[in-house]
Symmetry: C2
Subunit: 345 residues, 2 copies
DNA sequence: GTTTCGATTCAAACCGGTTTAGTAAATCCG
DNA sequence: CGGATTTACTAAACCGGTTTGAATCGAAAC
């Protein structure tokens, strides 16, 4: 084991012939150190290969130099969702530049609160991300109580003192509905995510509003759980109502839905049009290639972490706008079959 | 902001009428504290709601109480791979019980070494996981140089002083090949992962050996990159060689391959059998449902983190056996078409 | 020639734990 | 009963940084 005992600030001080305090000042670019002492200290530090000990800095300035992410989803759902890795990659992009670390916590849903408390209580992180917002999310009050800075992805429905990255799924859903309406569909269904999730209920509302705006009758909405199994079951249910198009709230369910259609002998897109959400890697490689809504979780991760770090540093932070999601049209959408009945169901 | 300034060990000491040292002893269950003082200290700590400061403990015992995971894959690939979330969930399962945290680092492949150095240099973690082993993986020497304990997923090909979770993909691949052989296939192809990855090359070798063992001629092997796009391209290439079955090294490529088959008018499983690897959530919900190899990354995560924590605590740790992967047979595999030529290609 | 001032620098305190050395009282033992 | 242990506890040092208050110095001001 190469345990050459990392040099401390004391070693640097000795090497440069100054006191610890001066070294600290010099290395942090504070005024009050003459130019040549600073120079001498810097080269000494470099020669010794000195790196500041995060542990020691953390204790003395009572900061952790880390931010936290608590994931309360089931591992299977996490695995199927391309959101997290991309988001985390974006987060890292910002964090590593600023010398911060990401502390991840994956917990069963029942232990979510405990997860945040643990993170805060042991002082492991200086702030957290708030993902998968729920309707009237109890975590907002919790984090305010804990005094833990946070940045949420999407603006919560209730009051929140925390800045948000203004992710808005509604234009994406609206674009999908508009696209289908323009193709001539009049009977469109929506397979929604769980209603207690803000994105679940918001996408649903966006769907309903977009239908109304297009002058179409309300369509059936089935709530599913974002999983392939859930999507398949919901698809069966919805196909019985005789719709000609389905707007799914994620790609995974849409892809499962494609299979159900094949199984039931419903041709896509000739008899049924289908749109997904997320624009997964796989979307372009299923049969038929899936029309989907492209989002940019990598960007959200970057923006969210920039905002969070600024917030932690005590700067005032406004909500962060991000570009609207884009509809990516592929072969799973087409005009409805000609003979289809046009009266409302 | 509820900043009631968390109580320190000093406050507990004062409340219990003893010295800091005694409190520390009492709370760590060390001998040398009488039963009723211990009692008194414990209730005092409880009443004050005291939690030890990780920062302070970290500094004084020079441990971070955290382990690291460096992910050097592209975010898109990460997003498509259900391995990571499941693995991480398993890791967390162990860590949270033992009061440890997981520090994640997602870096471009070119900065992988820097990632480990950063983690070690700033003393952020006490050990790391070694995933996605490569052939002659340079990280092993690097970590030994850095003196950072590690546990690898799968045993490296070269020498390594680190314990490994003995994940072995070979039985899974072998089972797939055997299954296809038993169905009567004689011309089987393999779409492999990148050869510089140990799992990529091992699955490939397992494929070749299993063919030989079944008395079958060598089949075409195409190296792809685990992505849907790569899988689709490789499938086109391989279908031109007239095989009746394809063993894919992951589900994502297999699912993309299914679409290519549809597109080329090749019926699955009537004319072409297909097997995946990973047994993704989606595998059961594509058309036809995908025969795949079920692995258990959640378990690996649990085992790996147990081993890593033991290693960090200075216990000697042996390689950890895990159950072999199981073949899950679904509808994407069937006997080859009757008229197929049986001579070697 | 003092006085004053700003620029440098240092010594010491501090963050909140753990750990060691040392002390006083209780217990053991012959 | 007196010395040797043992037990229960305290005070202080330590981990490696940051930060404060005071000391030192040369130069400008009076």
């Amino acid at each position: 084991m190469t345990r050459a005992d990392r040099p401390t600030i004391r070693d640097v001080a000795r090497a440069a012939g100054v006191s610890k305090g001066t070294v600290s000042f010099a290395l942090n670019g504070r005024p009050g150190v003459s130019e040549d002492t600073r120079e001498r200290i810097l080269t000494a530090a470099l020669e010794l290969g000195w790196t500041p000990s995060t542990k020691a800095r953390a204790l003395s300035v009572s900061r952790s130099f880390a931010v936290g992410l608590v994931l309360a989803r089931e591992p299977e759902l996490l695995g199927a969702d391309p959101f997290f890795p991309a988001f985390i990659a974006g987060v890292e992009r910002t964090l590593s530049d600023r010398g911060q670390a990401l502390v991840l916590q994956v917990v069963p849903e029942s232990e979510e609160e405990a997860g945040y408390r643990r993170l805060a209580g042991t002082g492991r992180v200086d702030g957290v991300f708030l993902l998968d917002l729920r309707v009237d999310d109890p975590r907002i009050a919790l984090l305010e109580e804990l005094g833990l800075p946070a940045v949420s992805i999407a603006r919560p429905d209730g009051p929140s003192e925390f800045p948000a990255v203004l992710v808005d799924d509604r234009p994406g859903i609206a674009a999908a509905v508009r696209h289908l309406a323009e193709l001539g569909h009049r009977h469109i269904a929506h397979i929604a995510g769980p209603a207690h999730f803000l994105h679940g209920s918001r996408r649903r509302r966006a769907f309903e509003e977009a239908l109304a705006e297009a002058g179409l009758p309300a369509g059936p909405v089935v709530e599913a759980d974002f999983s392939a199994a859930g999507g398949a079951a919901a698809t069966r249910e919805v196909l019985a109502t005789g719709v000609t198009a389905i707007v799914y709230s994620n790609d995974l369910m849409a892809i499962a839905g494609l299979s159900v259609a094949v199984e039931l002998g419903v041709a896509v897109p000739a008899e049924l049009s289908v749109t997904g959400f997320d624009n997964t890697d796989l979307a372009a490689y299923v049969t038929p290639p899936l029309t989907s809504v492209r989002t940019d979780p990598y960007l959200w991760g970057r923006k969210a972490s920039e905002a969070l770090l600024d917030l932690i540093d005590g700067r005032t932070v406004d909500d962060v706008p991000v570009p609207a999601a884009q509809l990516v049209i592929r072969a799973s959408t087409a005009p409805p079959p000609p003979g289809v009945r046009t009266e409302t169901p």
